[in-house]
Symmetry: C2
Subunit: 210 residues, 2 copies
């Protein structure tokens, strides 16, 4: 039976494992789509249109927002960021799930727009010390940037109770197993199986001719 | 982390595989509890109190209903049948799930009483011909009894859309795999994890002393 694709929202403080888990999901099931954001920020060297971001000028971005073509959007440090709606709807109709690597504000807007098609998962670190250790071990950020990320983490974590599922990522493989089970279970929900009505109609026709 | 046990309602027309699937679940996870019904019908030879049924006289049964001690009950051919509440609540607190092998009316009453603690799964046969074949191959019922079961099946199937999940049992192992995934996914829901609040409080305390 075909099913309707769902929208999987993954949120977590930076360093809790959200991006790694998204990548693991896409490798496990290549039919899944990663939602690429649109932004008004100019491309950096090496960034490709449609891979890191869809790059749009402010006028085009604002038109998309007015036309309801953004599932969510926000302004950060003077640049607009948002999740385009059209590719998500194409994926849903084709029975493909879309993964959103997104913060609580974006997640909340998508939930409001797409309701029962959304499954939201919050990833928690096993401890704050471990979260900081992971950020430091990446070796890509200055102490100032890390301090900024840690402050933002505290705010992000304060929204844990708004999610359908919350996983404590103390073991990446175990967390990934849990995430797969959540996704597989959600795919089985009756309201994601549009072919069931026709199937039951068939059973009733069989009753009628007995 | 400990979690709150859930109530798994399995419904299906007789012969679709519900009882076999319940037994497979209990073997797979022996911590699960099967809800034994109470009844006013007298015990038959070989039946044991608390195994097939809890046998109660009508006065005792009615007192239990009045006291809210039945999650659901119904009268069938002059006998009362019902699901006692107390053992379910004990199991829930101990993090044990309870399986109900029950028809749509009982399922609906339990859903009303226990709301978000209920997960409901409807099992459909692959075809009506196959359903009849399974009933006949049991060799335990007369043609009249089978005809009665088939008529009841039609009524039971008409309630498929009231369930959270609907599985077509054309392959018992595949259906069991799906059932396990549904159950495991539901166990992971945030609102079934009472320890998460304390865990996040711990993270916040860690932030506070940094």
């Amino acid at each position: 039976m075909t099913r309707r694709g769902l929208l999987l929202i993954l949120s977590s403080p930076s360093g809790a494992g959200k991006s790694t888990l998204s990548r693991m999901l896409m490798t496990w099931d290549p039919t899944m789509r990663f939602s690429v954001s649109a932004t008004t920020r100019p491309p950096r060297p090496g960034e490709e249109e449609g891979r890191e971001y869809y790059f749009r000028n402010r006028a085009d971005f604002e038109t998309m927002v007015e036309d309801g073509e953004m599932l969510e959007h926000a302004e950060v440090f003077g640049n607009l960021y948002g999740s385009p709606r059209a590719p998500v709807e194409v994926a849903m109709k084709a029975g493909r799930d879309t993964v959103f690597d997104i913060d609580w504000q974006g997640g909340q807007q998508i939930k409001q727009a797409m309701r029962d098609d959304v499954v939201s998962v919050f990833i928690l670190p096993p401890s704050i010390a471990e979260l900081e250790r992971r950020l430091e071990s990446r070796g890509q950020d200055s102490p100032d940037v890390i301090a900024g990320r840690m402050a933002k983490s505290r705010d992000e974590i304060s929204h844990w109770a708004e999610y359908d599922y919350v996983l404590v990522n103390d073991d990446l493989d175990a967390t990934f197993e849990a995430l797969k089970i959540i996704l597989q279970g959600q795919r089985l929900r009756r309201d994601r199986q549009p072919d069931l009505s026709a199937f039951v109609r068939g059973l009733n026709e069989e009753f009628a001719v007995r």
